[in-house]
Amino acid sequence: MSKRILIIDDDDDVREATQICLEVTGDWEIFTASSGREGLIEAIAKQPDLILLDVMMPVMDGIETFSELQANVITQSIPVILLTAKAQPAEIQQFTQLQVLDVITKPYDPFSLSDRVAQAFFAD
């Protein structure tokens, strides 16, 4: 059974390009959500094996979404990789202190992303 991955990102192009990238490079089942709220619903509904979560989103940002995921018994154990366009060291440091599996800075190389996702599953 292939691993299932939920991509939560408000940018349609990023979400679509990332989905294509992961579908091509790995045997993974991809779901997407265009906002934090939608991502929470999807996570509860689909209970993916990994969530790729964009940080900077309107209304409910990635950090808030992560907190909600952590607060929910159903989603709290799902590993989360943060995807962020905020690339300043202080910001990165702030994200790594959260209980996330990894922090990947945009714009990422699609194969590197695929490798990191694969490592996540391997570690698991």
Binding site: D13, T105, P107, P110
Partner: protein, 843 residues
């Protein structure tokens, strides 16, 4: 006198018995007493006495013989009758004519002698008791005339003088034998006891007259001396050098000298002796062996001193004195040589002493005098000529030339008194000189001291001036420092070693919410409650300022937090620097500033960078993913996925370009680097142009654009205003539902501005976003802009352009009903100023 004398020349010769009446005797005594009393001149009295006695006795010659100190004698008064006997007046008789034993009898026994030459008898009568004669105890017996044989020599002597009868009565002056009253008669004559008594009475009266005359002479001399002393004293008291010389002249005159000198002993070894000379002076020849003494005065000559010491006689009254009669006293050879060439024959020297101090010498010189003596006979008995003289009593003259004059006692006394005056005057003069010298010295010292004081004074004035200048400088500096401290925007305070505030500027107090006065001398650490950047309070000993005070280390601290009085706080950064006085730390000065605003700006910057980073990285993510996949060859280029990735890459490339353009454009406008190229443009034209460029997009979205143009000229950058209108219209189209109308209108406002309005009927903008919507990347929903090809910078650019035209931009919105964006632009003022309306009327 002359009448009386004439009477005497009518003698009643040889009528003894008639004349010797008691009446005539009383008359005689009365006349004589009157004569003596009427005149004080002895010569007159004596002349009267001889006249009266001769008249009384009726003898040929009556004379008064006066003894001299050397026992010779002179006939000083005489009365002669018809030249029966020769005149002896003025003639001198040698001492041996009246042997000393006879003179003793005259003196001690008051013997009167009567000689009868013819009988060769001499009768003697004593007035005093004769111890040798026991039988003559009573006065009566004394008055008895004892006759005996006269000495043949005496008889011979009287015969030679032509005398046949003589009567001699001694004249006494006190206890001294003054002289003799003598009566001679050329024929034998008997002298009665009565006559002897009368002549004795006359002799007694004469003694009284002599005493009175002596008293008169003495008084006269005393008066003369006092006058001399006064004259000399007058010159001496004025005490100038010239008058000292005058005093010397007066002294010489008073002492009947020919010259004199005053020698004043030098007061100390550096002074010279002072010498005042008058008249002829001795010439001291230098001794051959002692040339050095060439210039010394006689008073300084050792021989003079030796002579003085030897000859000096001390008068009990005042000074020592010495006299020299150069023809009888011998001076030392060197001095004798000095006087020899001169006429000086006698010297009187008075040592001038005052208060046991020898001040000098007063010396008076006298020249010799010529003495002429008329002798009745040669005084020298061995001379053979005496034989002749004895017989004839022929007079002869003795002349003594250049004879030294004796200094008599009263002259020495006068000299001593005058010497005393000189001594006192010289002493006073020297005192006066000393006082003058002291005064001069004092004046010199006063002058020097005054000069010193003046220098000190000038120095003080300079110092005061310097100090005043320094004080003024200090005050100016202090004022400048105060101004600087008061004007400084940053908080500045000083702390002492205990951390208490020694000074604080108004900015610091204001930041902390206190008055300056409230903070003076307060512990600053407790006032501001230092917190570190983590918000943890720490103690004074941990305070970096404490370290500055302790170690002198300058501390640069940022992101600390200070409390205000109202318990609010603010972030600060400060630098603490030690205050050093003579290399000792006496406190610290702290300069701090409120960095709250800076932190906000920093945060905004960080956020902007973060947002820009996000906005740039997001399309890049899509591009990189798409291109990465396509370039890997792991995806079929002909597949739909491949096609889709290409589209994503292309769209996001365009988005990136727009974004970069907008970012750069906005920054250039905001920073003023893009100049607005303004010109007069018609508002309606601009509105039409903007609408036209969007017409196709609007049609595609099924939205109508309504334009309500305003014909008015504006002073604008046409392209930038079209950009602004396009941006606002584009947004309006984006956020309008299909089949709605977007309206663009303009209206002229009162204040020469035109207000544009872009109105849509879209979903509206939430109230909380109305304030921030013109900020960068402040879309209501970021996905909206991306969906609609926006960058999130359009409204920020619009605002910048409007602001560069001096206008304003704002938005009014009602949710679900639509929004209206407004902005204002200035009318072309110049056109109005030229009297032309900016409004185009023909259209």
């Amino acid at each position: 006198m002359s009448n009386r004398k004439l009477n005497f020349e009518q003698p009643e010769h040889h009528s003894d018995t008639n004349r010797q009446t008691s009446d005539s005797l009383e008359m005689l005594l009365h006349r004589m007493t009157n004569r003596i009393r009427q005149s004080l001149e002895l010569s007159v009295i004596l002349a009267g006495v001889t006249d009266e006695v001769r008249f009384f006795l009726g003898t040929d010659r009556v004379k008064v013989y006066q003894f001299e100190p050397n026992a010779s004698g002179e006939v000083v008064a005489e009365s002669i009758y018809q030249n029966n006997l020769p005149s002896l007046l003025g003639q001198h008789f040698p001492a041996e004519d009246i042997p000393i034993e006879i003179r003793q009898l005259y003196l001690t026994k008051r013997k009167r002698t009567i000689v009868d030459v013819a009988a060769k008898l001499i009768g003697m009568s004593s007035l005093t008791n004769d111890c040798d004669n026991a039988s003559s105890n009573s006065k009566d017996e004394d008055e008895q005339i004892q006759f005996r044989t006269v000495d043949p020599c005496h008889v011979e002597y009287l015969r030679a003088m032509g005398v046949r009868s003589s009567l001699v009565v001694p004249i006494m002056d006190e206890d001294r034998l003054w002289g003799l009253l003598v009566s001679h008669h050329s024929t034998p004559r008997v002298v009665t006891p009565r006559e002897l008594e009368v002549v004795q009475l006359v002799a007694d009266q004469t003694s009284i007259a002599i005493a009175q005359s002596n008293l008169l002479e003495s008084t006269r001399i005393q008066a003369q001396q006092e006058a001399s002393i006064n004259r000399v004293g007058r010159f001496l008291h004025s005490m100038t050098q010239m008058q000292l010389k005058q005093a010397l002249r007066q002294t010489i005159a008073a002492l009947q000298g020919s010259g004199g000198r005053v020698y004043i002993t030098p007061q100390n070894i550096v002074d010279q002796a002072q010498l005042y000379l008058s008249g002829e002076q001795p010439v001291l020849l230098p001794a051959i062996e002692n040339r050095a003494s060439a210039n010394i005065q006689i008073e300084e000559h050792p021989d003079w001193q030796t002579w003085l010491d030897h000859a000096m006689q001390t008068n009990h009254k005042i000074q020592s004195w010495a006299i020299a009669q150069l023809d009888t006293n011998s001076l030392p050879l060197s001095l004798d040589q000095a006087f020899k060439p001169t006429e000086i024959k006698s010297i009187l020297t008075i040592r001038l002493e005052y208060r046991q101090k020898i001040l000098g010498y007063l010396t008076i010189f006298r020249q010799g005098i010529d003495l002429e003596t008329v002798w009745a006979k040669r005084p020298d008995s061995s001379d053979s000529r005496n034989q002749y003289t004895l017989r004839s009593f022929e007079t002869w003259y003795e002349l003594q030339l250049n004879k030294a004059r004796q200094w008599i006692e009263r002259e020495i006394e006068l000299a001593q008194i005058l010497g005393n005056h000189f001594a006192i005057a010289i002493y006073q003069y020297q005192l006066y000189q000393q006082v003058n010298t002291l005064n001069a010295s004092l004046e010199q010292r006063v002058t020097e001291r005054t000069a010193q004081l003046e220098q000190t004074n000038q120095k003080l004035v300079r110092e005061i001036s310097d100090r005043l200048k320094t004080r003024a400088d200090l005050e100016r500096l202090s004022h400048q420092h105060e101004l600087i401290l008061n004007s400084a925007g940053e908080g500045i305070y000083g702390l002492d070693l205990a951390g208490k505030i020694t000074f604080i500027n108004p900015a610091a107090a204001e930041m902390l919410g206190y008055d300056v006065a409230q903070l003076q001398n307060q512990p600053m650490h407790k006032i501001v409650n230092h917190f570190n950047v983590e918000g943890i309070a720490y103690s004074w000993s941990e305070n970096p300022i404490y370290q500055t005070i302790k170690t002198g280390k300058i501390q640069y601290i940022t992101n600390e937090i200070f409390d205000r009085q109202d318990m609010s706080n603010f972030s600060v950064e400060y630098v603490s620097t030690p205050i050093l006085e003579q290399e000792q730390i006496v406190g610290a000065v702290v300069i701090f500033k409120d960095i709250t605003e800076r932190q906000i700006i920093d945060r905004m910057k960080d956020e902007f960078v973060s947002v820009v980073s996000h906005e740039l990285r997001t399309p890049l993510t899509s591009i990189r993913s798409a291109v990465g996949m396509l370039s890997s060859g792991r995806i079929d280029p002909q597949s739909s996925k491949s096609q889709r990735l290409l589209e994503i890459a292309f769209n996001n490339s365009n988005r990136l370009v727009r974004l970069i353009n907008d970012i750069l454009d906005l920054e250039r406008i905001k920073s003023g680097k893009v100049t607005m190229i303004k010109s007069s443009c018609n508002a309606a034209d601009v509105m039409e142009d903007a609408v036209e460029s969007l017409q196709s997009i609007a049609e595609k979205a099924d939205i109508a654009i309504e334009v309500i143009p305003l014909e008015i000229n504006l002073w604008i950058d046409r392209d930038r205003i079209i950009q602004t209108l396009t941006n606002l219209l584009s947004n309006a189209i984006k956020f309008s539902s299909s089949y709605t109308i977007v309206t663009l209108s303009a209206s002229l406002q009162d204040n020469n501005v035109v207000e544009f309005q872009v109105k849509d009927r879209g979903r509206g903008i939430p109230t909380e976003h109305l304030e921030t919507i013109f900020d960068r990347f402040q879309q209501v929903d970021a996905s909206d802009s991306r969906d609609r090809g926006g960058t999130g910078l359009g409204l920020a650019i619009c605002r910048s352009i409007v602001q560069q035209h001096g206008g304003q931009i704002w938005v009014e919105s009602i949710l679900d009903q639509g929004s209206s964006f407004y902005f204002t632009l200035p009318v072309d003022i110049q056109l109005r100023a030229n009297g032309r309306s900016p409004i185009r009327k023909d259209e």
